[in-house]
Amino acid sequence: MIKKIFVALAIFGLFSIFLPIMINFDFHQNLSELSTQYVKGSVEDLNSQNVVTSVIVTYRGLDTLGEVTVLFLATAGIGFLLKKRKGKKRVASELLQTSSSFLSVVIIMFGIFIFSHGHLTPGGGFQGGVMIASAFLLLMLSDVNLELNHTILQFIESLSGAFYVVVGLIGLVLTIGFLNSKIIPLGEYGNLFSAGAIPLIYSFVGLKVGSELTNILDAMGGD
């Protein structure tokens, strides 16, 4: 009983804090100065159509490196906690087995499309990585005896992580700053091979996120 009163009090307190924020909130009419700089710089400086991508990859690139590291640590923790065991499962239906074998390759190709076009369309490394992981998930769901090759997965993961850092360091060597995307010629606005190193960096992020999430799913789902 006391617990319920306490919960109700807490919810009411939070509500009375939020209410004035909600009522008195005035929406901006214009972009803030920083955002204006980002939008302008993305067109004039980086040749990237998608401003969100240029914020994530270039202007806040160090943050993204941190995020990827956090993801890696979480994966390591999950793999450390959960050990694999064998169990009996029901075989998937024949229709699912047949259709998933071709569909999974199409999904992987779509993931590659998403992370290589991160500077032109919505999406990027994180979403493309999730697509690749979900293709492997579909294979896991349709085939009960599937064994993923962990050596190749860890190889891809560590290699793409290392290349990500190396691309950043090249900018440092050329003395234009860590993770600067101008180490490669900028190209023509709106083409696939444009925006400097942004597609390259996002592809590495995509491969790394994809292999890490596949590891998480394998550790949690595998038997």
Partner: protein, 82 residues
């Protein structure tokens, strides 16, 4: 027009949230919370951030649901073994 869509979807999401918190069946609660994420991605799209909409549709609706299912499955298997 757009605000009509956002109001109706918002009401659905709030009702779904209350129900997901109160459902006794864990699997049903997971499915309803997956529906919240799917509708949230339409809201993000209306608010003009397709990147976030794509991330929410792929992670919030797809992978989070599946991770919950795997956890439930492990608990179910523990039950049966001993």
């Amino acid at each position: 027009m757009i605000s009509t869509i956002i109001i109706i979807l918002g009401i659905i999401m709030i009702v779904a949230g209350i129900i997901a918190v109160h459902l006794k069946n864990l699997l049903a609660a997971i499915i309803v919370s997956g529906a919240i994420s799917l509708l949230a991605s339409i809201i993000y799209l209306i608010l003009g951030s397709p990147d976030v909409a794509m991330t929410e549709a792929s992670i919030g609706a797809g992978l989070t649901t599946i991770v919950f299912l795997f956890a439930l499955n492990k608990a179910r298997k523990e039950d049966k073994n001993d």
